[in-house]
Amino acid sequence: MTQITYVSVDDTEHTVNATDGESLMRAALQNDVPGIVGECGGELTCGTCHIYVSNEWSDRVAPQSEGERELLSMMDDVRPESRLACQIRVHPDMHGFTSRISDHQ
Protein backbone atom coordinates (compact mmCIF):
# COMPACT_ATOMS: atom_id res chain seq x y z
CA MET A 1 0.00 0.00 0.00
CA THR A 2 1.26 3.45 -0.92
CA GLN A 3 -0.14 6.69 0.39
CA ILE A 4 -1.49 8.94 -2.35
CA THR A 5 -3.18 12.33 -2.05
CA TYR A 6 -5.60 13.89 -4.52
CA VAL A 7 -6.46 17.56 -4.19
CA SER A 8 -9.92 18.51 -5.42
CA VAL A 9 -10.80 21.68 -7.28
CA ASP A 10 -12.12 23.10 -3.98
CA ASP A 11 -8.73 22.33 -2.33
CA THR A 12 -10.10 19.40 -0.28
CA GLU A 13 -7.38 16.78 0.18
CA HIS A 14 -8.25 13.10 -0.22
CA THR A 15 -5.53 10.79 1.03
CA VAL A 16 -5.90 7.11 0.20
CA ASN A 17 -3.89 3.91 0.58
CA ALA A 18 -3.42 2.69 -2.97
CA THR A 19 -2.47 -0.82 -4.02
CA ASP A 20 0.88 -0.99 -5.78
CA GLY A 21 0.45 -1.81 -9.44
CA GLU A 22 -3.00 -0.27 -9.84
CA SER A 23 -3.43 3.03 -11.66
CA LEU A 24 -4.01 6.36 -9.98
CA MET A 25 -7.42 6.38 -11.69
CA ARG A 26 -8.44 3.02 -10.18
CA ALA A 27 -7.10 3.99 -6.77
CA ALA A 28 -9.25 7.13 -6.88
CA LEU A 29 -12.40 5.23 -7.91
CA GLN A 30 -11.90 2.51 -5.32
CA ASN A 31 -11.58 5.14 -2.61
CA ASP A 32 -14.48 7.30 -3.80
CA VAL A 33 -12.34 10.31 -4.59
CA PRO A 34 -14.72 12.77 -6.28
CA GLY A 35 -13.76 14.38 -9.59
CA ILE A 36 -12.00 11.40 -11.21
CA VAL A 37 -14.45 9.70 -13.58
CA GLY A 38 -12.42 7.16 -15.59
CA GLU A 39 -15.25 6.50 -18.02
CA CYS A 40 -13.31 4.32 -20.48
CA GLY A 41 -11.62 2.23 -17.82
CA GLY A 42 -8.10 3.30 -18.78
CA GLU A 43 -8.27 2.80 -22.55
CA LEU A 44 -6.89 6.25 -23.46
CA THR A 45 -10.21 7.22 -24.95
CA CYS A 46 -12.19 9.54 -22.70
CA GLY A 47 -9.79 11.85 -20.87
CA THR A 48 -11.93 11.86 -17.71
CA CYS A 49 -9.11 11.27 -15.24
CA HIS A 50 -7.18 14.48 -15.91
CA ILE A 51 -4.80 15.45 -13.09
CA TYR A 52 -1.92 17.89 -12.60
CA VAL A 53 1.34 16.47 -11.31
CA SER A 54 3.83 18.97 -9.96
CA ASN A 55 7.48 18.91 -11.05
CA GLU A 56 8.46 17.60 -7.66
CA TRP A 57 6.68 14.32 -8.44
CA SER A 58 6.62 14.16 -12.23
CA ASP A 59 10.01 12.46 -12.60
CA ARG A 60 9.02 9.70 -10.14
CA VAL A 61 6.35 8.38 -12.49
CA ALA A 62 6.53 6.93 -15.98
CA PRO A 63 6.57 9.61 -18.70
CA GLN A 64 3.70 10.27 -21.06
CA SER A 65 3.24 7.92 -23.99
CA GLU A 66 2.57 9.37 -27.42
CA GLY A 67 -1.08 8.37 -27.08
CA GLU A 68 -1.51 10.10 -23.75
CA ARG A 69 0.07 13.25 -25.18
CA GLU A 70 -2.23 13.13 -28.21
CA LEU A 71 -5.36 12.76 -26.11
CA LEU A 72 -4.33 15.45 -23.64
CA SER A 73 -3.57 17.88 -26.46
CA MET A 74 -7.26 18.06 -27.33
CA MET A 75 -8.54 18.57 -23.80
CA ASP A 76 -9.52 21.74 -21.99
CA ASP A 77 -7.24 23.34 -19.46
CA VAL A 78 -4.16 21.38 -20.41
CA ARG A 79 -0.93 22.48 -18.73
CA PRO A 80 2.63 21.17 -18.92
CA GLU A 81 1.95 19.18 -15.72
CA SER A 82 -1.22 17.52 -17.11
CA ARG A 83 -1.42 13.73 -16.92
CA LEU A 84 -4.09 11.06 -17.23
CA ALA A 85 -4.39 9.20 -13.94
CA CYS A 86 -5.14 5.92 -15.72
CA GLN A 87 -1.66 5.92 -17.23
CA ILE A 88 0.28 6.17 -13.96
CA ARG A 89 0.83 2.98 -11.97
CA VAL A 90 1.27 3.26 -8.21
CA HIS A 91 4.61 2.01 -6.89
CA PRO A 92 6.22 2.19 -3.44
CA ASP A 93 8.52 5.11 -4.38
CA MET A 94 5.39 7.22 -4.75
CA HIS A 95 4.64 7.30 -1.01
CA GLY A 96 3.20 10.76 -0.32
CA PHE A 97 2.50 11.43 -4.02
CA THR A 98 0.18 14.39 -4.47
CA SER A 99 -1.69 15.51 -7.56
CA ARG A 100 -4.42 18.03 -8.26
CA ILE A 101 -7.61 17.00 -10.04
CA SER A 102 -8.50 19.08 -13.10
CA ASP A 103 -11.84 20.81 -13.21
CA HIS A 104 -12.12 19.75 -16.85
CA GLN A 105 -12.85 16.06 -17.20
Binding site: D32, C40, G41, E43, E70, L71
Partner: protein, 420 residues
Protein backbone atom coordinates in the same frame (compact mmCIF):
# COMPACT_ATOMS: atom_id res chain seq x y z
CA UNK B 1 -34.03 10.06 3.27
CA UNK B 2 -34.50 6.31 3.14
CA UNK B 3 -37.56 4.59 1.76
CA UNK B 4 -40.33 3.21 3.91
CA UNK B 5 -38.47 -0.02 4.38
CA UNK B 6 -39.47 -0.66 7.97
CA UNK B 7 -39.95 -4.31 8.73
CA UNK B 8 -43.02 -5.71 7.08
CA UNK B 9 -44.08 -2.37 5.60
CA UNK B 10 -44.19 -1.63 1.90
CA UNK B 11 -40.95 -0.53 0.34
CA UNK B 12 -41.02 2.53 -1.80
CA UNK B 13 -38.39 4.78 -3.29
CA UNK B 14 -38.38 8.20 -4.88
CA UNK B 15 -36.18 6.74 -7.61
CA UNK B 16 -36.17 3.03 -8.28
CA UNK B 17 -33.55 1.89 -10.81
CA UNK B 18 -33.81 -1.54 -12.41
CA UNK B 19 -30.34 -2.76 -13.39
CA UNK B 20 -26.92 -2.12 -11.84
CA UNK B 21 -24.94 -1.83 -15.06
CA UNK B 22 -23.29 1.33 -16.30
CA UNK B 23 -26.52 3.23 -17.06
CA UNK B 24 -28.29 2.39 -13.80
CA UNK B 25 -25.26 3.13 -11.66
CA UNK B 26 -24.60 6.39 -13.51
CA UNK B 27 -28.18 7.50 -12.89
CA UNK B 28 -27.80 6.97 -9.15
CA UNK B 29 -24.37 8.60 -8.97
CA UNK B 30 -25.44 11.62 -11.02
CA UNK B 31 -28.54 12.10 -8.89
CA UNK B 32 -26.49 12.21 -5.69
CA UNK B 33 -23.83 14.36 -7.32
CA UNK B 34 -26.56 16.78 -8.36
CA UNK B 35 -27.80 17.04 -4.78
CA UNK B 36 -30.85 14.77 -5.00
CA UNK B 37 -31.95 14.08 -1.43
CA UNK B 38 -34.77 11.60 -2.08
CA UNK B 39 -34.49 7.85 -1.62
CA UNK B 40 -32.77 5.75 -4.31
CA UNK B 41 -32.57 2.00 -4.82
CA UNK B 42 -31.05 -0.16 -7.54
CA UNK B 43 -32.57 -3.61 -8.07
CA UNK B 44 -30.35 -6.08 -9.88
CA UNK B 45 -30.48 -9.73 -10.80
CA UNK B 46 -26.85 -10.35 -9.94
CA UNK B 47 -25.78 -10.88 -6.37
CA UNK B 48 -22.74 -8.66 -6.16
CA UNK B 49 -21.48 -5.10 -5.98
CA UNK B 50 -21.90 -3.30 -9.32
CA UNK B 51 -18.97 -3.62 -11.71
CA UNK B 52 -17.87 -2.46 -15.16
CA UNK B 53 -18.46 -4.90 -18.00
CA UNK B 54 -15.82 -3.97 -20.63
CA UNK B 55 -12.88 -5.67 -18.85
CA UNK B 56 -14.74 -9.00 -18.78
CA UNK B 57 -13.89 -9.78 -22.41
CA UNK B 58 -10.36 -8.37 -22.10
CA UNK B 59 -8.19 -8.24 -18.96
CA UNK B 60 -10.47 -10.51 -16.89
CA UNK B 61 -10.58 -13.23 -19.53
CA UNK B 62 -6.81 -13.08 -19.97
CA UNK B 63 -6.46 -13.53 -16.22
CA UNK B 64 -4.85 -10.10 -15.79
CA UNK B 65 -7.58 -8.58 -13.62
CA UNK B 66 -10.19 -9.64 -11.08
CA UNK B 67 -13.64 -8.13 -10.71
CA UNK B 68 -12.64 -6.47 -7.44
CA UNK B 69 -10.35 -4.26 -9.51
CA UNK B 70 -13.12 -2.86 -11.67
CA UNK B 71 -16.08 -2.27 -9.42
CA UNK B 72 -17.67 1.12 -10.04
CA UNK B 73 -17.34 2.14 -6.41
CA UNK B 74 -16.33 0.70 -3.06
CA UNK B 75 -18.88 -1.04 -0.85
CA UNK B 76 -18.86 2.02 1.44
CA UNK B 77 -19.91 4.37 -1.33
CA UNK B 78 -23.42 2.94 -1.57
CA UNK B 79 -24.05 3.17 2.16
CA UNK B 80 -22.54 6.62 2.51
CA UNK B 81 -24.66 7.90 -0.34
CA UNK B 82 -27.83 6.16 0.83
CA UNK B 83 -28.24 4.16 -2.35
CA UNK B 84 -29.92 0.86 -1.50
CA UNK B 85 -28.64 -2.09 -3.53
CA UNK B 86 -31.36 -4.74 -3.79
CA UNK B 87 -29.38 -7.63 -5.23
CA UNK B 88 -30.31 -11.02 -6.61
CA UNK B 89 -33.76 -10.00 -7.80
CA UNK B 90 -35.27 -9.64 -11.23
CA UNK B 91 -38.25 -7.42 -11.96
CA UNK B 92 -41.03 -9.51 -13.46
CA UNK B 93 -43.73 -6.92 -13.96
CA UNK B 94 -44.52 -3.25 -13.63
CA UNK B 95 -47.82 -1.88 -12.38
CA UNK B 96 -48.05 1.52 -13.99
CA UNK B 97 -51.21 2.53 -12.11
CA UNK B 98 -49.96 1.54 -8.66
CA UNK B 99 -46.41 2.81 -9.36
CA UNK B 100 -44.80 -0.41 -8.25
CA UNK B 101 -42.75 -3.30 -9.60
CA UNK B 102 -43.07 -6.94 -8.69
CA UNK B 103 -39.87 -8.94 -8.33
CA UNK B 104 -39.30 -12.61 -9.06
CA UNK B 105 -39.39 -13.43 -5.36
CA UNK B 106 -42.75 -11.72 -4.91
CA UNK B 107 -41.48 -8.48 -3.36
CA UNK B 108 -43.37 -5.34 -4.37
CA UNK B 109 -41.35 -2.13 -4.56
CA UNK B 110 -42.99 1.23 -5.10
CA UNK B 111 -41.54 4.16 -7.01
CA UNK B 112 -42.12 7.80 -7.78
CA UNK B 113 -39.73 7.58 -10.74
CA UNK B 114 -38.82 4.27 -12.35
CA UNK B 115 -35.56 4.08 -14.32
CA UNK B 116 -35.41 0.99 -16.52
CA UNK B 117 -31.72 0.10 -16.97
CA UNK B 118 -32.16 -3.63 -17.45
CA UNK B 119 -29.74 -3.94 -20.38
CA UNK B 120 -30.03 -7.08 -22.41
CA UNK B 121 -29.24 -10.74 -22.61
CA UNK B 122 -26.98 -12.57 -25.01
CA UNK B 123 -28.78 -13.87 -28.09
CA UNK B 124 -28.63 -17.66 -28.20
CA UNK B 125 -28.24 -19.93 -31.15
CA UNK B 126 -31.13 -22.16 -32.15
CA UNK B 127 -29.03 -24.86 -33.78
CA UNK B 128 -28.90 -28.39 -32.29
CA UNK B 129 -26.36 -28.59 -29.45
CA UNK B 130 -26.63 -24.93 -28.43
CA UNK B 131 -27.47 -25.98 -24.86
CA UNK B 132 -24.52 -28.33 -24.37
CA UNK B 133 -22.18 -27.67 -21.48
CA UNK B 134 -19.11 -25.85 -22.70
CA UNK B 135 -21.16 -23.44 -24.84
CA UNK B 136 -20.81 -19.95 -23.39
CA UNK B 137 -22.14 -16.46 -23.81
CA UNK B 138 -20.28 -13.49 -22.40
CA UNK B 139 -22.40 -10.84 -20.83
CA UNK B 140 -21.87 -10.72 -17.07
CA UNK B 141 -19.34 -11.65 -14.43
CA UNK B 142 -20.82 -15.11 -13.86
CA UNK B 143 -20.56 -15.86 -17.60
CA UNK B 144 -16.96 -14.69 -17.70
CA UNK B 145 -16.04 -16.65 -14.58
CA UNK B 146 -17.44 -19.90 -15.99
CA UNK B 147 -15.80 -19.28 -19.34
CA UNK B 148 -12.43 -18.47 -17.80
CA UNK B 149 -12.63 -21.59 -15.65
CA UNK B 150 -13.18 -23.70 -18.74
CA UNK B 151 -9.98 -22.42 -20.35
CA UNK B 152 -7.82 -24.47 -18.02
CA UNK B 153 -6.55 -27.33 -20.16
CA UNK B 154 -8.61 -26.27 -23.18
CA UNK B 155 -6.89 -26.64 -26.54
CA UNK B 156 -9.46 -25.65 -29.14
CA UNK B 157 -12.07 -22.95 -28.95
CA UNK B 158 -14.62 -22.02 -31.58
CA UNK B 159 -16.06 -18.54 -31.42
CA UNK B 160 -19.33 -18.05 -33.25
CA UNK B 161 -19.77 -14.43 -34.28
CA UNK B 162 -17.10 -12.03 -35.52
CA UNK B 163 -18.32 -8.94 -33.66
CA UNK B 164 -16.51 -7.04 -30.92
CA UNK B 165 -17.25 -9.52 -28.14
CA UNK B 166 -16.18 -12.49 -30.23
CA UNK B 167 -12.99 -10.83 -31.41
CA UNK B 168 -12.01 -9.55 -27.98
CA UNK B 169 -12.57 -13.03 -26.58
CA UNK B 170 -10.55 -14.51 -29.45
CA UNK B 171 -7.60 -12.24 -28.62
CA UNK B 172 -7.78 -13.10 -24.91
CA UNK B 173 -7.94 -16.85 -25.58
CA UNK B 174 -5.02 -16.78 -28.00
CA UNK B 175 -2.99 -14.90 -25.41
CA UNK B 176 -3.79 -17.76 -23.02
CA UNK B 177 -2.46 -20.31 -25.50
CA UNK B 178 -5.80 -21.65 -26.75
CA UNK B 179 -6.15 -22.39 -30.45
CA UNK B 180 -9.07 -20.32 -31.78
CA UNK B 181 -11.36 -20.41 -34.80
CA UNK B 182 -13.74 -17.51 -35.41
CA UNK B 183 -16.82 -18.22 -37.52
CA UNK B 184 -18.65 -15.31 -39.10
CA UNK B 185 -21.75 -15.70 -41.24
CA UNK B 186 -21.21 -12.41 -43.10
CA UNK B 187 -18.50 -12.05 -45.71
CA UNK B 188 -16.37 -9.93 -43.34
CA UNK B 189 -15.80 -9.39 -39.61
CA UNK B 190 -17.57 -6.52 -37.81
CA UNK B 191 -19.77 -6.19 -40.89
CA UNK B 192 -22.59 -4.39 -39.06
CA UNK B 193 -20.39 -1.72 -37.48
CA UNK B 194 -17.54 -0.80 -39.79
CA UNK B 195 -16.29 -0.67 -43.38
CA UNK B 196 -14.40 -3.30 -45.36
CA UNK B 197 -10.96 -1.74 -44.80
CA UNK B 198 -11.31 -2.02 -41.03
CA UNK B 199 -12.85 -5.50 -41.30
CA UNK B 200 -9.93 -6.68 -43.43
CA UNK B 201 -7.45 -5.19 -40.99
CA UNK B 202 -9.02 -7.21 -38.16
CA UNK B 203 -9.06 -10.46 -40.16
CA UNK B 204 -5.36 -9.96 -40.85
CA UNK B 205 -4.64 -9.11 -37.21
CA UNK B 206 -6.31 -12.24 -35.90
CA UNK B 207 -4.92 -14.51 -38.60
CA UNK B 208 -1.41 -13.19 -37.88
CA UNK B 209 -1.85 -14.26 -34.27
CA UNK B 210 -2.64 -17.81 -35.38
CA UNK B 211 -6.44 -17.65 -35.26
CA UNK B 212 -8.42 -19.25 -38.06
CA UNK B 213 -11.02 -16.81 -39.39
CA UNK B 214 -13.80 -18.37 -41.43
CA UNK B 215 -16.02 -15.89 -43.24
CA UNK B 216 -19.39 -16.47 -44.99
CA UNK B 217 -19.70 -19.56 -42.79
CA UNK B 218 -22.83 -20.79 -41.07
CA UNK B 219 -23.13 -23.23 -38.19
CA UNK B 220 -25.17 -26.38 -38.76
CA UNK B 221 -24.90 -27.82 -35.27
CA UNK B 222 -22.79 -28.04 -32.16
CA UNK B 223 -21.63 -31.58 -31.55
CA UNK B 224 -21.34 -33.11 -28.10
CA UNK B 225 -19.95 -36.08 -26.28
CA UNK B 226 -21.48 -36.97 -22.91
CA UNK B 227 -23.45 -33.67 -22.93
CA UNK B 228 -20.28 -31.63 -23.33
CA UNK B 229 -19.32 -29.79 -26.49
CA UNK B 230 -16.86 -31.65 -28.70
CA UNK B 231 -17.04 -29.82 -32.00
CA UNK B 232 -18.86 -27.50 -34.36
CA UNK B 233 -20.24 -28.59 -37.70
CA UNK B 234 -20.43 -25.88 -40.35
CA UNK B 235 -23.08 -25.57 -43.05
CA UNK B 236 -20.62 -26.92 -45.62
CA UNK B 237 -20.20 -30.07 -43.55
CA UNK B 238 -16.76 -29.27 -42.16
CA UNK B 239 -16.29 -30.29 -38.52
CA UNK B 240 -14.09 -28.27 -36.17
CA UNK B 241 -12.97 -29.85 -32.91
CA UNK B 242 -13.82 -27.72 -29.86
CA UNK B 243 -13.33 -27.98 -26.11
CA UNK B 244 -15.45 -24.89 -25.73
CA UNK B 245 -17.63 -22.62 -27.84
CA UNK B 246 -18.33 -18.93 -27.31
CA UNK B 247 -21.46 -17.52 -28.89
CA UNK B 248 -21.27 -13.79 -29.56
CA UNK B 249 -24.15 -13.10 -31.92
CA UNK B 250 -25.73 -10.04 -30.39
CA UNK B 251 -27.89 -8.81 -27.59
CA UNK B 252 -31.63 -8.92 -26.99
CA UNK B 253 -32.81 -5.90 -24.98
CA UNK B 254 -34.62 -6.74 -21.75
CA UNK B 255 -37.88 -4.89 -22.25
CA UNK B 256 -40.64 -7.46 -21.75
CA UNK B 257 -41.98 -6.27 -18.34
CA UNK B 258 -42.14 -2.68 -19.60
CA UNK B 259 -43.71 -3.68 -22.91
CA UNK B 260 -46.33 -5.73 -21.06
CA UNK B 261 -47.11 -2.67 -18.95
CA UNK B 262 -47.92 -0.71 -22.10
CA UNK B 263 -44.66 1.23 -22.52
CA UNK B 264 -43.96 1.73 -26.22
CA UNK B 265 -41.10 -0.53 -27.34
CA UNK B 266 -39.69 -1.29 -30.77
CA UNK B 267 -36.08 -2.43 -30.90
CA UNK B 268 -35.73 -1.59 -27.19
CA UNK B 269 -37.73 0.94 -25.20
CA UNK B 270 -38.53 4.12 -27.12
CA UNK B 271 -37.37 7.22 -25.26
CA UNK B 272 -37.00 10.95 -25.92
CA UNK B 273 -33.89 13.10 -25.45
CA UNK B 274 -34.39 13.04 -21.66
CA UNK B 275 -34.81 9.24 -21.75
CA UNK B 276 -38.52 9.51 -20.90
CA UNK B 277 -40.63 6.60 -22.12
CA UNK B 278 -44.22 6.86 -23.37
CA UNK B 279 -45.48 6.41 -19.78
CA UNK B 280 -45.07 9.28 -17.29
CA UNK B 281 -42.54 8.76 -14.50
CA UNK B 282 -40.84 5.90 -16.32
CA UNK B 283 -37.44 6.39 -17.94
CA UNK B 284 -35.30 3.91 -19.87
CA UNK B 285 -31.52 4.12 -20.29
CA UNK B 286 -28.51 2.36 -21.76
CA UNK B 287 -28.42 -0.73 -23.97
CA UNK B 288 -32.19 -1.30 -23.82
CA UNK B 289 -33.26 2.22 -24.86
CA UNK B 290 -33.59 3.63 -28.36
CA UNK B 291 -33.86 7.30 -29.24
CA UNK B 292 -33.80 9.65 -32.21
CA UNK B 293 -30.17 10.57 -32.56
CA UNK B 294 -29.13 13.80 -34.25
CA UNK B 295 -25.96 11.88 -35.19
CA UNK B 296 -28.01 9.37 -37.19
CA UNK B 297 -30.04 11.95 -39.10
CA UNK B 298 -32.84 11.77 -36.53
CA UNK B 299 -33.60 8.08 -36.88
CA UNK B 300 -33.94 5.85 -33.80
CA UNK B 301 -30.80 4.09 -32.67
CA UNK B 302 -30.14 1.68 -29.83
CA UNK B 303 -26.49 1.77 -28.84
CA UNK B 304 -24.68 -0.78 -26.71
CA UNK B 305 -21.81 1.18 -25.23
CA UNK B 306 -20.48 2.63 -22.02
CA UNK B 307 -20.50 6.28 -23.15
CA UNK B 308 -24.11 5.94 -24.28
CA UNK B 309 -25.07 4.51 -20.90
CA UNK B 310 -23.24 7.29 -19.08
CA UNK B 311 -24.92 9.97 -21.16
CA UNK B 312 -28.36 8.45 -20.54
CA UNK B 313 -27.76 8.23 -16.81
CA UNK B 314 -26.80 11.90 -16.69
CA UNK B 315 -29.82 12.88 -18.81
CA UNK B 316 -32.26 11.13 -16.47
CA UNK B 317 -30.65 12.67 -13.40
CA UNK B 318 -31.00 16.12 -15.01
CA UNK B 319 -34.63 15.45 -15.87
CA UNK B 320 -35.47 14.36 -12.32
CA UNK B 321 -33.53 17.26 -10.79
CA UNK B 322 -35.01 19.69 -13.34
CA UNK B 323 -31.55 20.90 -14.27
CA UNK B 324 -30.53 21.49 -17.91
CA UNK B 325 -29.63 18.42 -19.92
CA UNK B 326 -26.02 18.81 -21.05
CA UNK B 327 -27.12 17.65 -24.47
CA UNK B 328 -25.88 14.94 -26.70
CA UNK B 329 -22.30 14.46 -27.72
CA UNK B 330 -21.36 12.19 -30.62
CA UNK B 331 -21.51 8.52 -29.63
CA UNK B 332 -18.13 6.88 -29.15
CA UNK B 333 -16.83 3.43 -28.48
CA UNK B 334 -13.60 1.52 -28.12
CA UNK B 335 -12.30 -2.00 -28.53
CA UNK B 336 -8.93 -3.36 -27.49
CA UNK B 337 -7.58 -6.53 -29.08
CA UNK B 338 -3.95 -7.56 -28.60
CA UNK B 339 -2.03 -4.26 -28.71
CA UNK B 340 -4.47 -2.73 -31.17
CA UNK B 341 -6.74 0.02 -30.04
CA UNK B 342 -9.83 0.87 -32.05
CA UNK B 343 -11.61 4.07 -31.15
CA UNK B 344 -14.70 5.10 -32.99
CA UNK B 345 -16.78 8.26 -32.86
CA UNK B 346 -20.05 9.05 -34.58
CA UNK B 347 -22.39 6.65 -36.39
CA UNK B 348 -21.21 5.38 -39.76
CA UNK B 349 -24.49 3.77 -40.87
CA UNK B 350 -25.82 5.58 -43.92
CA UNK B 351 -22.49 7.12 -44.96
CA UNK B 352 -21.93 7.70 -48.68
CA UNK B 353 -18.15 8.04 -48.66
CA UNK B 354 -15.37 6.40 -46.64
CA UNK B 355 -11.90 7.96 -46.75
CA UNK B 356 -8.79 6.07 -45.75
CA UNK B 357 -6.26 8.15 -43.80
CA UNK B 358 -2.92 6.52 -43.06
CA UNK B 359 -1.59 3.08 -43.83
CA UNK B 360 -3.35 -0.09 -42.59
CA UNK B 361 -0.12 -2.00 -43.28
CA UNK B 362 1.53 0.02 -40.52
CA UNK B 363 -1.32 -0.72 -38.10
CA UNK B 364 -2.00 2.98 -37.70
CA UNK B 365 -4.81 4.50 -39.73
CA UNK B 366 -8.28 5.96 -39.64
CA UNK B 367 -11.35 5.73 -41.82
CA UNK B 368 -13.41 8.88 -42.00
CA UNK B 369 -17.05 8.55 -43.00
CA UNK B 370 -18.91 11.30 -44.83
CA UNK B 371 -22.57 11.82 -45.55
CA UNK B 372 -23.39 14.56 -48.02
CA UNK B 373 -19.81 15.85 -47.79
CA UNK B 374 -19.86 16.21 -43.99
CA UNK B 375 -17.97 14.12 -41.45
CA UNK B 376 -20.33 11.77 -39.59
CA UNK B 377 -17.96 9.21 -38.06
CA UNK B 378 -14.39 7.97 -37.71
CA UNK B 379 -12.86 4.60 -36.97
CA UNK B 380 -9.34 5.14 -35.64
CA UNK B 381 -6.87 2.30 -35.32
CA UNK B 382 -3.96 3.14 -33.02
CA UNK B 383 -4.56 6.79 -33.97
CA UNK B 384 -5.51 8.59 -30.80
CA UNK B 385 -4.86 12.03 -32.28
CA UNK B 386 -7.33 11.41 -35.11
CA UNK B 387 -9.91 10.16 -32.61
CA UNK B 388 -9.50 13.08 -30.21
CA UNK B 389 -9.62 15.62 -33.03
CA UNK B 390 -12.23 13.77 -35.07
CA UNK B 391 -14.74 14.10 -32.22
CA UNK B 392 -14.92 17.80 -33.01
CA UNK B 393 -15.48 17.18 -36.71
CA UNK B 394 -18.37 14.83 -35.97
CA UNK B 395 -19.87 17.14 -33.34
CA UNK B 396 -19.85 20.01 -35.83
CA UNK B 397 -20.70 17.96 -38.91
CA UNK B 398 -17.69 19.57 -40.55
CA UNK B 399 -17.64 19.59 -44.35
CA UNK B 400 -14.40 18.18 -45.72
CA UNK B 401 -12.98 16.84 -48.96
CA UNK B 402 -11.53 13.39 -49.50
CA UNK B 403 -8.17 14.96 -50.41
CA UNK B 404 -7.70 16.88 -47.17
CA UNK B 405 -8.96 14.04 -44.98
CA UNK B 406 -6.59 11.55 -46.59
CA UNK B 407 -3.59 13.86 -46.18
CA UNK B 408 -1.90 12.85 -42.91
CA UNK B 409 0.20 16.02 -42.97
CA UNK B 410 -3.00 17.96 -42.25
CA UNK B 411 -4.16 17.75 -38.65
CA UNK B 412 -7.88 17.01 -38.49
CA UNK B 413 -8.50 19.75 -35.96
CA UNK B 414 -7.37 22.35 -38.50
CA UNK B 415 -10.43 21.47 -40.60
CA UNK B 416 -12.87 22.48 -37.86
CA UNK B 417 -12.18 26.16 -38.36
CA UNK B 418 -14.26 26.08 -41.52
CA UNK B 419 -17.86 27.13 -40.98
CA UNK B 420 -20.11 24.11 -41.56
Amino acid sequence: MSGESSAGGPRSYDVLIVGAGQAGVQTAMSLRQGGFSGSIAIVDAENELPYERPPLSKAYLRGDAEVGEFRFRSADYWTKNSIDLISGMTVESVDVEAHEVLTGVGLRIGYSHLVWAAGGRARRLTVPGADLSGVFSLRNHADAERLRGSLVGARNAVIIGGGYIGLEAAAALVQRGVSVTVIEVQERLLARVTCAAVSDFYSDLHRASGTTVLLSSGVEQILGEHDHVAGVQLSDGQILPADLVIVGVGLIPNVEPLAAAGVVCSNGVEVDGDCRTSVPHIFAVGDCANYKSPFAGGIRVRLESVPNAVEHGKAVASAILSTPNEGMTPPWFWSHQFDTRLQTVGLQAGHDEAILRGEPGQSKFSVIYLRGGRVVALDCINSIADFAQGKLLVAQGTPATAEELADTSIQLKSLTTKVP
